[in-house]
Symmetry: D2
Subunit: 336 residues, 4 copies
């Protein structure tokens, strides 16, 4: 059996006070040696709508968190509840040996990891890097290769579930990376989510995410088309939704998130398409899957057309509405 003094912390940078608290926990048998290791500080870079809630959940679970973001106000909010501040990604990498990033797009990820003051400029061997951004799987692979040269491990771990799921700590993570590191990632991620998939090698987490969202877009547009066509053919919207929900056309977009106002209570379509997952964000994700399809020479006729439709909607003023507003886009009052 381990004695307290035999514990080797993965990071030497936790403060004496924290180390003392952790040892106390261990002595009370509240933490295993592994668990103690996991209470070593965690870096968190990218404190937007999603990231801020994720970092807060880590803090609430008792983790020391070192945060960084380009917006000082975002950083200040987290500092107010106890986060330590890293001046740059490089600084965060010096202070921690596990870092989570949650950034808007591929260029941001490249900057935060491989830029001048990026993580990889100071990263320590053995560091675990988890990127929860939704980006091009190829970028994930490229960053992973560079991290490996530094002796660090990079995993892509995009999420499903929106801002509310981030707040409530019930996100789903799709994690691509080496099997031997997956358990460590899972342990950390379960503090912010309820389900963690191991999808395979690096890049497959992103692949799963963009595949799901492309199928979601296709389903949502398809449901919108048939709900509009059916009502024009004389069907009652609720009867049609009931039939589809129990037939071979059944899908999440028809039975759980129906795009027609008044069919299901509490979803964006019944609240003027406010909240939810914005059209511009869906267009962005479809851009990623379309680029991946070009690169792999994979035909995606409906996925490609769905991208065009969400892009047209952005041009017509739908960017900030929930993506189910495609029903409204298709339906709008016909003038001839």
């Amino acid at each position: 059996m381990l004695s307290a003094t035999s514990i080797v912390f993965r990071s030497s940078r936790i403060s004496p006070a924290v180390a003392s608290r952790l040892l106390e926990c261990y002595n009370r048998r509240e933490l295993s040696a592994k668990g103690m290791a996991s209470m070593a500080p965690v870096g968190f870079i990218g404190l937007g709508n999603m990231g801020a809630y994720m970092a807060k959940n880590l803090i609430n679970k008792g983790y020391p968190v070192v945060v960084n973001d380009v917006y000082p106000e975002a950083v200040a909010d987290l500092a107010d509840i106890g986060a330590q501040v890293g001046d740059t990604p490089a600084d965060v990498a010096q202070k921690t040996d596990r870092i989570i990033t949650m950034l808007p797009s591929s260029p941001n990820v490249l900057e935060v990891y491989t830029g001048e003051n990026g993580i990889l400029s100071t990263v320590k061997p053995g560091t675990l890097l988890i990127d929860s951004s939704t980006i091009d799987p190829q970028v994930s692979k490229d960053v992973a290769a560079k991290a490996e040269k530094k002796g660090a491990t990079f995993m892509d771990a995009p999420v499903s579930g929106g801002v509310n799921a981030a707040r409530d700590g019930i996100l789903t993570f799709m994690v691509g990376g080496k099997t031997e590191e997956f358990v460590a990632a899972e342990e950390l991620l379960l503090n912010m989510g309820k389900k963690v998939w191991h999808t395979g090698a690096v890049g497959t987490g992103e692949a799963a995410k963009i595949c799901n969202n492309m199928l979601l877009a296709i389903s949502m547009i398809g449901v919108s088309e048939v709900m509009n066509l059916g009502t024009r053919l004389g069907l009652d919207k609720k009867i049609l939704a009931d039939i589809l929900s129990t037939s071979t056309g059944r899908c999440w977009s028809v039975d759980t998130y129906n795009p027609v106002p008044g069919v299901i209570e509490g979803v964006p379509s019944s609240n003027n398409y406010q909240g939810g997952f914005g059209t511009a964000l869906m267009a962005k994700d479809l851009g990623l899957s379309n680029a991946a399809a070009i690169n792999t020479k994979s035909p995606i006729p409906l996925g490609s057309l769905s991208n065009q439709i969400y892009r047209l909607m952005c041009n017509q003023g739908y960017s900030l509405k929930d993506f189910s507003s495609v029903y409204q886009f298709l339906k709008e009052q016909q003038d001839s």
Copy 2:
């Protein structure tokens, strides 16, 4: 209260023996007057793959059935198990006051109802006409209007479920027609199916059917696109199917009828795309929904492209394969 002798059978053509049995039942309070009427003979026109099983189920439930089809062999099969034969649709209409039709396409329906020896040439007032063909909703409305002039009631009642469901008597019917006649139709149809929807006015049964099948086609192509793209991006097919089946991309085409061989046992994709619902039949149904969309000026970008894809597949030799073979069509070995 009715006395036995006051019962007026809707059809005078049931045999004295049958009538006697029905009256006996009535006296024992096992049948209402309406119930007795329901054992009156039923006409059945259209004995194809689906229709033959449907008519057999009626016979097995004890109904006297008068059948008609353009193929003598199809008629002979039913006559062998006790069906009476009508020489023409007009003859069937003279011998029964409830008729079910199950025909391949709109022109056949027009011929059987409004042709020279069609049902409407001899139909009796009060006759209930139920058409289970999948056709243009507008044709249903047109035939219904002509039937009404003769004092008959026409309902469109297309089915979901394939040949096996027809054989096992577990079809789902989507019935468009007057509410006051729906109960009579439902009673009859439950002998061939397990669920009968009342969808609204005449034509809405067809509308619901073609809406569901269009959404099904869209979902199936969408699932095929992402399963192909995802595996090219390095995902394992079963892991991807699992993730999609529990995420917002969830749909029947991914969780119950997955188009990728080896993901789900017992579905056509795991049997070389044999059996199931043929590509040519899906192309035909999509032709109906596309025509309805043109007529109602309803935009259906994905439904329209899905029609083109199934039409292209017919041109490339997929007509008789299950419609989930679109996965194979998208995936086929790339030669550059």
Copy 3:
């Protein structure tokens, strides 16, 4: 050889004065017997934007014209300049043995020809019926078959060229019908146009028309896509238009009717998309080609998507703008 007195006029309704003039011409060998017949009165049904100009051109060329329309004002305008009025299509058919129809859509054509007071109710054997409406080729064939039973000849002769070409008498006609009747039709139509194609059997005139307009829609959307993409990539609009106009992407939509404001003077795009050929009319023609494709099982992926795009534009307020406004629809200020 014919003597003047042996000429039998096809119509007895020309005035003695006209007959006298015609005979004089004949004697001077300026007219063949057939040519003289051509000054017999002509029926004209459908006096809309196009039809009114066409009928006026006939009158201006010296033809006695008997007109009919559902709008009394339209009829009055023509009567003012010398047209005789027919109370109904049937009345026109009694008064003439050559009739031109120019109607909005298939149902109107069916009504005018086969309705209660339709042309075919009174048509004389030998009458030449020319329909310049743009309709479903199958409807043309159906009406032609009914006309033939009455001993009359029906030809479909849709036009290309818009209202200005109708006014100036420079339309192009695409005529489907029997070769032996084509010369008579051509002689008449050249009074309203500058070019008359004989496209083949009945229905092929319509087929050619809807094929051309579908290709036009595809070209116009394609040009709009690349002009928008190219300028976003930094190209000057005029340089790009010049390059495309002299390269393999060359087409009428880029070199003669460019959809980008300011590239070509005098076209609708340089006049706020006013005038020209309206989006709703293009959507209607695309509906015809799409229906024909469904009926003939012809894959038309781009034609079908073009139909959806013009249908969406109608829903977004573009119905009355020229169809080149698809450039504006694609381009509109992006909000994210």
Copy 4:
């Protein structure tokens, strides 16, 4: 007037023998001072189907040429007719101050310019770099920025016209780059082509190329759709082609390169779709325009669908056939 001795060669690296020959020419008034400068040696990297002919034309016009390619045989062919050989792109850059590159795709261009032994590792200030590859415009811009840091000028100059045009020296070049360098580029390129466009800033040459090819793909598919639909509707293929070629559907794909066998002699469709521009190459170019559209958030519904169609064709065995074989793909014998 210039004396021979006042000529300043742009490059000091031409051999005394060459310089002597040039001066001799000048004295015979066969070359202007400018022309003499232009006879300085030219580097040529990328000796594939197109590049080999282009380099040969330079040699035939009297230019000393220093060649490089990854395939030794390709290099040997040029050496046989007098080319000097550069061991690597870096070596070529040391030996010349004007270099033309003609490479298959973006990664090749990046390797040749920015790789370990790439041009930019040794390039001299003042060198003119002309890339005739068809690649992503963004890559052109990136390479141009890196070249500028070395004091060199990079221009993108993709071509239109295929292998035969390369052989015959009648290519068209679309050149993006600084105006002040354009004349020098044009002078060189006119030895290999008949027309040189200045399209604007760096990247716009590629932009023009991919815009034109996307419009070409759209036109070709559109023509194929209407030629197939029209003939199914009863039109003769030559009559339909004639009508379209003189109507608003007019385009290069219908009047010059018709995809239907037997309509125009001497084009690939009349030679079993052999020769011409291969389907796989078109799919590659459409991948570039689609990626550019994603990056610039430009909706390209038809361009995107065209990409999918050519990608599907590659999967069905059409890669090496001319891109007009899309007619055959759409038309193939229908089996239901």
